[in-house]
């Protein structure tokens, strides 16, 4: 890994400063804001388990619904795709079978809009991280691990960088987003298993080979670990506990009264 610096003075494997806020939205079970640097951020909120519409009720597990709202414009096919991506990233970490015939609803609001139409990976990463944080804060859905995401880009000279900034994105040749799940033994403190649960990678130049993908994946693993540490620290700060609850198996005692969770209060446009 080269140590040459980037536009903003970062090293290749360095993330932008991460911002995490648990500023609670009052009407949801959990919400969090996550940002890479100043320009990329997302807000996520979790409601659930709540009552499910009869049509989408699943007999053996909870229905997991993800809605993505862009910063500007109405949600179109693009946010549908983002929603399905985020759903796929988080689904492996959630134990949905604990609450059959309920609905877990995740709403992600983008707080920044990508300046470049081709490379949205940092935004996807921010959204996925914000969603994880919201679930951790809500504590209402049992989880089997913590999912963190990080974007990787490849510059023209062939070097790989973590978390490309808006300026760097315009000069990218390839890029992608990698999501890792950190799950541990039930004692909680040690992370024993790191698994890449979701990835997307694309390149516009075509000059891109298989080895590079695996190199990128390795780099992403380091980056995701840094994000994970940050998530952990933020939770420790918030709760004062020494370890983050790895397996939140206890269900929330009573779901709030149904009336407080009607749909108009869940960040509808």
């Amino acid at each position: 890994m080269t140590t040459s610096t980037r536009h903003d003075g970062r090293k290749h494997h360095e993330l932008r400063p991460i911002t995490i806020f648990y500023d609670g939205l009052a009407r949801v079970d959990g919400s969090a804001r996550f940002g890479f640097g100043e320009s990329t951020a997302a807000l996520a909120s979790v409601s659930g388990p709540i009552e499910v519409r009869l049509a989408s009720e699943l007999p053996s597990k909870a229905t997991f619904e993800v809605l993505v709202r862009p910063l500007a414009n109405v949600p179109a096919t693009e946010s549908k795709l983002l929603a399905s991506m985020i759903k796929a990233t988080l689904e492996p970490s959630l134990i949905l079978t604990k609450n059959p015939r309920t609905l877990v609803q995740l709403v992600v609001q983008a707080l920044s809009s990508p300046s470049n139409a081709t490379w949205k990976d940092t935004h996807i990463a921010a959204m996925a991280n914000a969603s994880t944080l919201a679930f951790l804060q809500a504590c209402s859905v049992p989880m089997q691990g913590v999912v963190t995401a990080v974007a990787i880009g490849r510059l023209v000279d062939g070097s790989l960088i973590v978390d490309p900034s808006e300026d760097e994105m315009s000069s990218l040749q390839a890029g992608g987003c990698f999501v890792f799940m950190f799950s541990g033994s039930s004692t909680g403190s040690s992370v024993s298993n790191i698994d890449c649960v979701w990835s997307s990678w694309k390149s516009t130049s075509g000059r891109y080979s298989q080895e590079e993908l695996f190199k990128a994946k390795e780099l992403a693993k380091v980056g995701a670990q840094a994000v994970y540490e940050e998530v952990r620290r933020s939770l420790e700060k918030r709760s004062g506990a020494t370890a983050i609850p790895m397996l939140v198996v206890q269900e929330k005692e009573a779901v709030k009264e149904e009336g407080t969770l009607s749909s108009d209060e869940k960040m509808e446009i």
């Binding site: 795709l81 890449c196 997307s200 990678w201 694309k202 390149s203 298989q210």
Partner: protein, 223 residues
Amino acid sequence: MGDTTVVCGIKAEIAEPELDRESEGFLVPNLDLPAMCSPKFKPGPPSEEAQVLSERLNQALVASGILPLSSLCIHPGKAAWVLYVDATCINYNGNAFDATLLAMVAALRNTTLPQATYDPETHRTICSRKAPRVPLQLSANFPISATFGIFNSKHLLADPTAFEEPLLDTSISVVLGEAGKIISISQAGSAVVSDEDGGQRDVLEECIESTKQCRELLVPQLG
């Protein structure tokens, strides 16, 4: 592709280019999964699956750069071609993404456009019926995809059917361009497969290899 049948048609129309991209045309891919193709779908507006697939197809076509949008320009800032690439699924038996991408690429390859000229005085674009139609300026880097699924963390299945799709833990889509270059890879779920003897391995490499073989088989058939 097996029992999945997709028909793709391309309609060319003329529109004014976007202000910030004066010399570029448009490529508008859409997939329709009508109620006809499977009992899973209901009549009405496009289902969530159709929307997600349309957007993925759009991204695959854009990322591969199969058609330089600048070649669709008729007169900068005034007129450009819009290619509506509409695919309709006639018979749905899983893996609509691969089948549709293949249909779209094949359709683009035999599309011809009439020669058009923009008349600055009348502000109209006129096409000639007599002049020979020209084929699209496609790059050789056309995308071919292959989708794989992992069932029960043990079995790697290529080209999952509608019966298999809901049962998969993981699905991996590899889109390859010319000479085995990777255009995009998307993986949902863990790519680790455990063998019968308890060992674990990452199958991503295997998928890329078999997509390469798949592409080699398909390219001659595209003509």
